[in-house]
């Protein structure tokens, strides 16, 4: 595996960087927040993203996508992270598209995929039930009944759940954890929006006697745990790519501030203690970039060690974004504490992203287990 972007990937990267800087700067997030926007993102912009083909990057050509792969989508996500742009990229272009592409039947694909690719169908993954990422802890049940299933349970942190047209739900059957495709409008499904500190959304999804046909099963009955891990690994590294972008942006802004801000008659960036901390952040960003790229490539190539590389990428993205956002706040001093300044948005985003799809401890544990200790 070569850890270098193809020229195509580089083009996508440049295009995405321009796109988000121009169309979705942090100001856009602020406006959505301050206007209490019901969606929390711009549907018009999402349509534009779909038109650029981003919804089809991880979907094979046979299924209507471009098969461009995770490396490509990673570039888009990194660019989105630069401006903290809210969009269904992760819930839909990454998770929904992956789930359908990996395991969807022809019927399922035809029901959802063209709409998804066009930017008309939004999906959401409903897996975690507690406040910590734990895909194996499933209390939600799927009882076989009349040739179909009845689902009961509660999902706690469903990204973009409040705008989703279709939910991917994990539930226990007699054969083990199974994934189901559940249209959001199905009777018995209720969705409650939650506004998070980063001004993005997650929802509580309650399933009360939700009746589904047998064709709602995604993949095989009882095969949900393994399938979920495949989908989640894409989600984890995709989020890590976004966090890498955010880390870079927080860092760049901080370095610029160190050059601009004068105290005691000199730029504060001339103080050695701050210099060393900045240089250490630079180093952490570089190794995080490598880990993220390696995991993206590994998923595209189906490498054997993809899972451990994904955990490496997410763990490094967690600690690096935590570091760059915390240092960003401290080095900006008082001005960074004001809502008017944008550096605080990175702090808020960092902790939510850190806890999404596995904390540092979660991935450290997983990494060690995968490596046999």
């Amino acid at each position: 595996m070569a850890l270098v972007l193809s020229e195509d990937a580089q083009l996508v990267r440049d295009q995405a960087m321009d796109f988000f800087r121009e169309k979705s700067p942090i100001l856009a997030l602020r406006k959505l927040r301050d206007s209490n926007d019901a969606d929390g993102f711009s549907r018009a912009l999402w349509k534009e993203m779909a038109d650029l083909g981003w919804t089809g990057f991880v979907v094979s050509e046979e299924s209507g996508g471009s098969g461009f792969g995770m490396v490509g989508l990673g570039q888009v996500l990194e660019a989105a992270g630069r401006t903290l742009a809210p969009s269904p990229l992760i819930s839909t272009a990454l998770i929904g598209a992956s789930a359908l592409d990996i395991a969807g039947t022809t019927t399922q694909k035809s029901a959802y995929l063209s709409g998804l690719l066009a930017g008309d169908v939004i999906t959401a993954l409903a897996t975690d039930e507690g406040s910590h990422h734990a895909p194996g802890n499933v209390a939600t049940t799927a009882r076989a009944e009349a040739g179909g299933y009845v689902l009961d349970g509660r999902k706690s942190f469903v990204l973009d759940g409040h705008v989703a047209d279709m939910l991917i739900v994990s539930a226990k059957t007699d054969a083990g954890i199974t994934l189901f495709l559940v249209p959001a409008k199905t009777a018995g499904v209720s969705i409650q929006r939650r506004i998070m500190v980063d001004s993005r959304n997650a929802a509580i999804v309650t399933l009360a006697g939700v009746k589904l046909g047998a064709n709602a099963v995604l993949g095989s009955v009882g095969g949900g745990a393994a399938l979920l891990e495949r989908i989640l690994d894409r989600a984890r590294v995709g989020l890590a790519a976004e966090m890498l972008g955010s880390s870079c942006e927080a860092f760049d802004r901080t370095v610029q501030y160190l050059k601009d801000r004068k105290q005691f008659g000199v730029a504060i960036g001339s103080f050695q203690a701050l210099k060393h901390r900045a240089a250490q952040m630079f180093a952490e960003i570089e190794v995080t970039r490598s880990a993220v790229l390696a995991a993206l490539v590994a998923l595209d190539e189906g490498a054997e060690d993809a899972a451990s590389l994904v955990s490496l990428a997410k763990a490094k993205a967690n600690t690096t974004f935590n570091l760059t956002s915390s240092e960003g706040i401290q080095m900006h001093g008082g001005i960074g504490m004001t809502d008017e300044h944008e550096i605080g948005f990175f702090l808020k985003r960092s902790r939510v992203a850190e806890l999404t799809f596995g904390s540092t401890g979660f991935h450290q544990d997983r990494y060690a287990s995968l490596l046999g200790y």
């Binding site: 406040s131 942190f157 998070m196 001093g333 008082g334 504490m337 004001t338 809502d339 902790r351 939510v352």
Partner: protein
């Protein structure tokens, strides 16, 4: 020592008799008593408790009695604090008048200034705010550019201050201004006491990342300030400013320390609730280690504060240890909130919505607020500079 024991007994008895039960419960941030000309009361016991304590001068325990203070010795004041803590008594009155201005008024004020300002602070009649920082003068406080020109019996003041906390609720502001722009930067500064309620003084609240707006940017334009409102000597304000900062740092170090003990629910229980437990242990070993590391450092710091107090009480010369209090307390307080968030998981990341408990939302906001701890009152970097220079004697 016998008289201290007596004092302790009498104090406890008085507190038990006079502190209303509701004022013995933990105080949410929005029930702090600030006093002032336009006080806000959530319930009458707040005022009752403030008035009773003020009558004894215990809203400023060590201030001499002739100015309305408690006239207590340091040992007695410590006993009062311990007994209040033991009974869970809330602070009867808080504010920068008490913690910052009063000590320097006592040290540098004229008799007239003390008579005018101290009783008003002690009774909670006047609420003060601090006019120190400026947009271009943060860590480099002495680089301030606000001007005051002496014209006969008054100063003409033009100032632009920032981080004036609660300026929009304050009655008066103590303010650093440059009175000699030709002098070296530490030598042309004066310390003025200025009325807020007059034309030309305009506080503008700043919204913080936590969503709160307790700080203001304050503009003072062409305001005449009577000459007798100068504290200390003209152009010697920096001495007072530094002294006041020491009191501020002590106060911040103290707050940080107290906060890190306060807990609506101990963080280990929060962790068990959200991450589960096995054999009585927090199930997630990384989270357990995070919490234990924090709590051990917090405990060691508490013991350090106690050691400093015990040494003082034993009459030992003060060691250098207090130089690290502000730094350590504030860094710990940031870690405290990070640990709580790590324990809560995404449930601690809520901003709004019915599904989050008020405590959860409050913690999230306080977590954001805690990030200012290592910036305000002298950044951690400035504190480390000070330790390196004054305690360790490392060269500039």
């Amino acid at each position: 020592m016998a008289s201290l024991a007596t004092f302790r007994a009498e104090t406890r008895a008085w507190l038990e008799e006079n502190c209303p039960p509701i004022m013995r419960t933990p105080a949410p941030a929005d029930e702090t008593v600030w006093g002032g000309r336009n006080p806000t009361w959530k319930f009458p016991e707040q005022k009752l408790w403030m008035d009773r304590m003020a009558a004894k001068g215990w809203t400023l325990p060590t201030c001499p009695k002739q100015y309305g203070g408690g006239g207590l010795s340091l040992e007695q004041a410590e006993i009062l604090a311990e007994e209040m803590n033991a009974l869970g008594c809330r602070a009867p009155l808080q504010g920068m008048g008490q913690t910052m201005l009063a000590p320097v008024l006592i040290e540098y004020g004229t008799e007239a200034q003390k008579q005018e300002h101290l009783p008003a602070i002690i009774k909670g009649e006047i609420r003060w705010c601090q006019g120190y920082s400026e947009p271009g003068a943060g860590s480099d406080l002495a680089g301030l550019q606000s001007r005051a020109v002496l014209q006969g019996d008054h100063f003409l003041v033009n100032a632009h201050k920032i981080w004036t906390s609660n300026a929009h609720y304050a009655d008066k502001i103590f303010c650093l201004v440059r009175t000699d722009p030709t002098a070296k930067k530490h030598e042309g500064i004066s310390f003025l006491l200025i009325e807020m309620a007059q034309p030309g003084v305009r506080p503008r609240p700043i919204r913080l990342i936590s969503g709160a707006s307790v700080f203001c940017e304050t503009f003072i334009e062409n305001v005449q300030v009577p000459k007798e409102n100068l504290l200390g000597e003209m152009n010697k304000g920096w001495t007072i400013a530094k002294r006041l900062l020491e009191h501020e740092r002590k106060s911040i170090g103290g707050i940080g320390a107290r906060q890190s003990q306060r807990a609506d629910m101990p963080m280990q229980d929060v962790a068990k609730l959200h991450a589960g437990e096995v054999d009585g242990k927090i199930a997630d070993p990384a989270l357990r280690a995070n919490i234990a590391t924090f709590q051990m450092d917090a405990a060691a710091f508490q013991l350090t504060r106690k050691r400093a107090a015990d040494e003082a009480e034993a009459g030992r010369p003060p060691g250098p240890m207090s130089a690290m209090f502000k730094y350590y307390a504030t860094e710990l307080n940031k870690r405290r909130y990070e640990s709580i968030l790590a324990a809560e998981g995404v449930q601690g990341m809520g901003w709004d919505g019915d599904d989050f408990k008020p405590d959860e939302i409050r913690w999230t906001r306080e977590w954001l607020r805690s990030k200012a701890n290592t910036i305000e009152g002298g950044t951690s970097e400035v504190q480390l500079n000070i330790i390196a220079k004054r305690v360790l004697g490392l060269p500039d």
